[in-house]
């Protein structure tokens, strides 16, 4: 794939296969590790990362170096790095693509983090639908082990570290750091609130750094080329690096693109992702995965970086862009998102456990033409209540709901006035999925794989 932008994470992208160890090495891979282990102190690595302004790519955008600083000074005992590859947010597939492009970039990134925080074990937490990634990482960590880059006394120093692949059995809430720690520990993965951070008390009650996989994959470049180089990759001042953008929905070339942090959304969609398919116009996008708000078309010139998005009341999230065209019903889309959140809620706290099914019920009424004026206020109230839930899950679920009402209230009202979905969607089943009760309506399906022009 040819993209006219510096490719750092996707430098070794080949169609349909991961880069091998030798290919990675030939392009300067593991040089950062060679230049670091036994030659720099962990504090020096931490300083480079702090200076680079690397912020977490898993959604929250917390500075990576500051997270690492959370480990109590002078702590003696095991420390862990947990690599978050759960990625179950609808619209998000960047980490899967990244592992399959360059597994050794990921492994080197994990090693550099481990060195900086003096960890002895890394755990890659992988969701079940990414089983092929688990197999690939197991195979490539073995290659790294055979080359003396993992295991005891790496590169002849006293630094020992290994990576273990942990298979999850699949639940969205496992993407939350404290829930992920519990999942690895064989406990029911409800999030933990309050109490010490995972960097103080994480896996087996030891300091644990939970970082997203893409975040860690940035480390080899930063350590090798320096903080200023990393900052210079971004398009906007105050942001740093490149970013993987998963683009999907009604767009000509859905794919995962590596582009500068801060690039405007319009440029991503129209210059890189091929623009809208013929006959379609853009109505809205969700810019950062399912727990970020709908963004109307008029905001497409916003720079895609954490601060610019936040200033505009939007969220960069995982930078997973889903495109909705003029023919897509946003009430239907929100209903779908709320179905997802309702099913994936861990059920621990009331605002989420009770609030989500209630909002789902109201949205179903509206979508099936049985909505009433007061339902709009009730949905807004429920979404606000959900913002005071136990973890960030329910507030995330509230984002699409609230933005639907902020930017597309007219479309919601149209359902009330017409007593049906104005886009012709069939009434949703009120009691979950039912089969065989209504005619199958395929409509314009995407083209067969082999003849697809996109």
């Amino acid at each position: 794939m040819q993209v006219d932008a510096p490719q750092v994470l996707f430098k070794n992208r080949h169609l349909g296969r991961p880069a091998t160890f030798d290919e990675y090495r030939a392009g300067g891979g593991y040089e950062a590790l060679y230049a670091t282990i036994g030659k720099r102190t962990p504090e020096e690595v931490l300083d480079i990362v702090l200076a680079s302004d690397l912020r977490g790519r898993g959604g929250a955008g917390f500075p990576a170096g500051r997270k690492w600083q959370g480990i109590p000074a002078g702590y003696v005992g095991p420390r862990y790095v947990v690599v978050n590859t759960d990625e179950m947010e609808p619209g998000t597939f960047k980490d899967r693509v990244l592992v399959n492009v360059d597994p050794h970039l990921v492994i080197e990134g994990i090693l550099l983090c481990a060195y900086a925080v003096s960890a002895t074990l890394g755990v890659c937490f992988i969701r079940p639908s990414y089983e092929s990634d688990a197999v690939l990482l197991e195979r490539e960590t073995q290659v790294a082990r055979e080359k003396g880059l993992l295991g005891k006394n790496i590169l002849g120093t006293d630094f020992s570290f290994d990576i273990h692949v942990h298979r999850s059995a699949g639940r969205y809430i496992c993407g939350e750091a404290s829930a992920q720690i519990k999942a690895i520990s064989g406990l029911r993965p409800n999030p933990r609130k309050g109490g010490p951070r995972t960097s103080v008390k994480g896996l087996w009650d030891c300091p644990t750094i939970v970082n997203n996989l893409e975040t860690l994959a940035n480390l080899p470049g930063i350590v090798r080329n320096g903080a200023d180089w990393f900052k210079s990759l971004a398009r906007t001042p105050g942001s740093a690096g490149t970013k993987l953008f998963s683009v999907s929905g009604r767009i000509a070339k859905p794919d995962c693109y590596e582009l500068p942090m801060g690039i405007p959304l319009r440029e991503i969609l129209f210059e890189h992702a091929g623009g809208m398919p013929p006959g379609r116009t853009i109505k809205a996008v969700i810019p950062g995965g399912a727990s970020t708000p709908f963004m109307p078309e008029r905001l497409l010139d916003l720079p895609m970086d954490f601060d610019s998005m936040k200033k505009a009341g939007q969220r960069l999230g995982t930078a997973s862009i889903m495109v909705f065209d003029q023919n897509t019903c946003l009430v239907g889309a929100t209903l779908n998102l709320i179905e997802f959140f309702t099913r994936e809620s861990c059920g621990w706290c009331t605002p989420c456990r009770e609030g989500l099914p209630y909002v789902r019920h109201l949205l179903r009424l509206i979508e099936s033409g049985e909505g009433r004026e007061e339902h709009i206020g009730m949905i807004r109230d429920m979404a606000k209540v959900m913002q005071s839930a136990y973890c960030a899950f329910a507030p995330g679920a509230a984002e699409p709901i609230l933005s639907l009402l902020t930017h597309f209230e007219a479309e919601v009202r149209e359902h009330l006035h017409q007593h049906k979905c104005p886009f012709g969607n069939p009434p949703p089943a009120l009691h979950g999925k039912a089969c065989g009760t209504r005619p199958i309506a395929f409509g314009p399906t995407p083209c067969p794989e082999d003849q697809c022009p996109i």
Binding site: H166, A169, G170, S185, G186, S248, C256, M322, N336, F442
Partner: protein, 165 residues
């Protein structure tokens, strides 16, 4: 029915390699699920004995996770992605089509024990929507014709239909 010795030693090795036995809980349940076809009571009993966890603790995991099946499933579990991008590309119809073609309700298993259809949270293949996952393999850009071809291929290449025990 006792577990085969080879499986028991595999499970013991898995547990021994973990930092703490319970870290292997999901792996052990996966392995038993592969052996029994699903996590039957007997499987749960063995898992609890081997891991030193109570069956209640394991139950709280087995019933929580999407890919652990506490009830019988078919040899092929079809996880149809029903997240928003697939929905946009008529995922509902894909789901209906699968259920009607196989003659099963959602969550049901075909009489020959080959297929179970389950709605699934986003499987991370949104750029190829609508999409489904069958026994770890992605199937992209689904159409009715493509689904027919996939089912035919799976039927033809499965040597012996495996029935749930």
């Amino acid at each position: 029915m006792a577990l085969p010795d080879a499986l028991v030693s595999d499970l013991k090795r898995m547990i021994a390699q973990a930092e703490h036995p319970r870290e292997a809980a999901v792996d052990v349940m996966y392995a038993l699920q592969r052996h029994y076809g699903y996590l039957c009571d007997e499987a749960m009993h063995y898992a609890s004995t081997l891991l030193g966890m109570t069956t209640l603790e394991l139950e709280s995991l087995a019933t929580f996770y999407d890919y652990l099946y506490r009830r019988p499933v078919g040899h092929y579990v079809i996880h149809v992605c029903d997240s928003v991008v697939c929905w946009m590309f008529h995922q509902d119809s894909i789901f209906d089509y699968l259920c009607r073609t196989l003659g099963v309700p959602p969550g049901g298993t075909t009489d020959d024990g080959l297929f179970t259809v389950l709605p699934s949270a986003c499987i991370g293949n949104c750029h190829n929507a609508p999409t489904m996952l069958i026994n770890g393999r992605f199937y992209n850009k689904l159409t009715p014709e493509r689904i027919d071809a996939v089912l035919r291929e799976l039927r033809e290449t499965t040597e012996e239909p495996v029935r749930c025990k």
